[in-house]
Symmetry: D2
Subunit: 327 residues, 4 copies
């Protein structure tokens, strides 16, 4: 490929009540509100030098808009458009000005039918990394990754690795060596984009980076203090896969947010992807904890780039159920 | 009362395989082995200036010997003996020399039938608090408390408060104001001795103090690295009750160990015990996590101070089952 | 002695500008403001169940009022009054109502001329230990200790140990075994009251307890973010003596505040006080850092319980200068 | 440029006593010893999947060998050789087998006369990231960066940015906008290579990444416990520049090692380098601490790639002295 995708850079999700969501994301989790109007709240982490990494959009219909990837140059957008068209995949241009604070953007559906967005420019914002007086809740630093359920992980894997230039850091394989889940990255962490076998395409979660493990524990305490104990779905725990210290939350509309600290540098082209057996109890939670059923079964719908309607999903190709052997 | 009980100071438990237990307590959890022979291992925390706080005793019959409380003076032992005898409770003297590293000790059965030990003297040991190069695993600092299931918590509460001079920091009450569980202390932390409603008397767990929350997280990682993932029964989490950051483990023989950091100062006589409703979801785990069934249902037997046989237990007086409303 | 002193419980200091001090103590350090009027601000830590542990009193004349100790019972006050009078030491009663939120109080001057206060009752306040959403800055939990420069440490030591019933946890001695500094406690931590050799009586610092080491580091970050970098006088570091992780600050009027986490349990009557050589480089800072001259040379004046004027000081009996051998 | 430098990957330093150095690096700091012979010790961090990132080479003559950068492909080495030759800079090939565990390597002197090494292949080693039972001391994760004193920072800056393809994350400028120091990266952290104005080329320090801030504090404790208190030269503290939590040590031969946690993601081409004024007190230490003279004045010599002799140094072009205005 001759285009340069930098990293996952933003997500846009429909929410039913902006104030209720603001209370969760800003007051409890500690996101910074860059700007808002009566239809949107634009949020960023303390480290981010750009306008936002998460947009809450008021709507009666829940769902996830195209996942936003940042590219290096404007011309990368044209090359990406040509590439997606050459594959017969749906594309759509959003000219500069049509989305607040973002430059020209290309929206596409990928081989899994998942909506992706590519853009090069976003308005800047004051980077608050050293405004420690403003740190609250989980002390969110930046967007880290998205994780999506797709029916055919190997197809998604091949497309992202071979066509879009991602690298694989870790993956889960079945006994007969089928890829059941994969962690793929453009930036030099464990992932920008993960795929797991499941009915899809649907969004499993959006991950945000924290500065240290105690920020995550403090966030649990703050959530409980504010009456958000029910929002904690899983964790805190250590992922075997990625080695991250994690916490999974469900926002007021049910979207799953991962708070995440601890992965590792993946700069080296000769780093060999780490293989995990699907039945290794330390894969999901290094400490052996069982994830709740909801974590396996509940995901969020994507919206079509043209119609805005929920994208039709397909059944998972491999066994989808939660492995019984996880202790 | 005119005797002065200082604090919970040691526990002696029968284990089936000393080497297997050593691997768990010393190599994984980071206890210091003061001394051992082919029948015993004597363990202490890094902060402790005394010979041990936990004795592992080789035996085919599992069970917990009298829970050891330290008193201020030798004469306190005589006063305690007179007191227990006056109540018609069984007492037994173990003269100095009959237990390794411990002075003259009084063994008794209390109102719940629970075996207690009182002693004033224990051999000293090098305090390793500032030997950070020896810190391993959970960096165990010291014994903190014991928690026991008893059939009649109010009876145990009255005895410890009114007769033995303990104070109550927190308690759980039913809707009709019966005490379902109580946290009682002589030293100025949340507890030396906790009671919870259940078939008993039986030991629920022994708690050990850690220096900071990250030591607890690191311990989970070390346990998983060494293949002890299955030992983690519950946590890490925050207790509503006590405010401690906690982790519950099961040792190779099934004894429950709590790792614990964070309570608060209870020096003030006018501190009002904190009341928790039995159905407050934040009581058990501030963050709302559900404890596993095993944590509610499985406890360890006490041994009779005379016969060494398992002490007969009685059914709990109040509803014993795990509250269904805990989320 | 037949009175029961519980712990150091409050300090009252004159400040020149209430708003400037509020900004430092509340906004930067995270103290809770219980109440204020145009002459006072009453501050407490998140763990405290009583009205305040620090009072800022507006005054053009800087200085420290009698250091406030809490006793177990009202009658302890009478016994203390009789004791101080029997020693020919100045006493003064402040009847209930004469000090806001505090019951009847006894003010005295001790053998070093240092003003002390004893009281039994203080109004309650909501304990915010589990209101993690309110945690800010250093997450101050509670008052921990006071440290005072006195000209004759051994005289002060004897008085507090033999007459007031304190115990010694650690002390610094000269080559010829003179006590140069001492850490004394009533509650079961390392100290309520420390003395160090110096021109006095004068206050060296007031120490406050933090929940964990990262709260201390975060506080440095917050102070720097808010332009209070100059307030950091020494640390963060580890004390050899007490084993605490520490930070020394100077408030806007120059009073020294220690943030403190990590000491150990001192419940046992047979705990042997730890002796440090004055020339042990790990005594002051376990890691070997040198303390700045200001830390050794600058202290705050006490105010006479009758006149409110600065108490006359005497030269230190032992060599007072900062040891040159500290690296 | 049409070559792809990945990241700083290793340093090779002469030491006078291998066992003395092993005690410091392995026992105190927690490096993993991959291999050793009577002339070398090969060390790596817990995260590293390659044979080593630090080589200790026994020699009576102290000094630093060419700083080792990893490149993406073997052919990048040929392109780099051609480039350096085209600039009239000294180059030297070390064929595979001539250095243990490393493939073919190109050694060069850059525009500052600093010796650099480029290589593509290194033997693998077991990655111990999830062997938490082996974590010791500072829990070193990986090599992070090197910092060098050069007489003309702007010349070095131009060469690394314009010719070698590095990006600048932050820099320090004088009042008249001369670059006094610069932080340059190829991988997506704050730096692989930093330059500061000084007599040079000489090595200022090698930086290693830690997993979290408490690992750094624990390392101070371990160093003190083992008698290495004198090795702590500066910190712990927060850098304004880079936002990292840092500690500077001097190894037994005087080489400076930085332990480092906390920078940020620098993936975005539109990230604007952060400018710091030379006289901003928060630049060096965000909290305002003054660095000791030794930190400014003492550096280590580089060795010529041909002769192995110390490289001749030049005086700094800009004022070199430690700014007096740093508080």
């Amino acid at each position: 490929m001759d285009f340069n995708i930098i990293r996952i850079a933003r997500a846009v999700i429909n929410v039913s009540d902006l104030n209720r969501s603001r209370d969760f994301y800003v007051n409890a989790l500690g996101f910074v509100e860059t700007e808002s109007d009566d239809q949107h709240i634009y949020l960023r982490g303390l480290e981010e030098h750009t306008h936002h990494s998460l947009v809450l959009k008021k709507s009666d219909k829940l769902g996830v808009h195209a996942l936003g990837y940042k590219v290096a140059k404007e011309e990368d957008l044209d090359k990406l458009a040509a590439f997606f068209e050459s594959k017969g995949l749906k594309t759509k241009w959003l000219e500069e000005g049509s989305q607040h604070a973002v430059g020209r953007a290309l929206h596409v559906h990928d081989v899994s039918g998942m909506p992706l967005e590519f853009f090069c420019k976003m308005d800047g914002a004051e980077r608050l990394l050293q405004r420690y007086d403003l740190y609250r809740g989980a002390r969110i630093q930046r967007i880290d990754h998205v994780n999506c359920a797709v029916p055919d992980v190997e197809k998604a894997y091949d497309f992202f690795i071979n066509e879009l230039g991602f690298a694989c850091s870790e993956y889960t394989a079945t006994e007969d060596d089928r890829i059941w889940a994969a962690w793929l990255h453009r930036k030099q962490g464990v992932h920008d984009q993960a795929f797991m076998n499941g009915e899809g395409p649907r969004l499993h979660h959006i991950g945000f980076w924290l500065p240290d493990p105690l920020a995550l524990i403090h966030c649990c305490d703050v959530l409980a203090s504010l009456g958000y104990g029910d929002s904690i779905e899983r964790g805190p725990g250590r992922h075997g896969l990625s080695n991250a210290f994690f916490l999974y939350l469900r926002d007021p509309d049910g979207y799953r947010i991962e708070l995440y600290n601890g992965d590792y540098l993946t700069s080296d082209p000769d780093f060999k992807p780490i293989r995990w057996d699907l039945d290794d109890p330390r894969r999901q939670t290094f400490w052996g904890h069982k994830a709740p059923d909801s974590w396996f079964n509940e995901t969020s719908p994507f919206l079509d780039i043209d119609t805005g309607e929920e994208i039709t999903v397909s059944e998972a190709k491999l066994a989808k159920i939660k492995p019984e052997f996880i202790i």
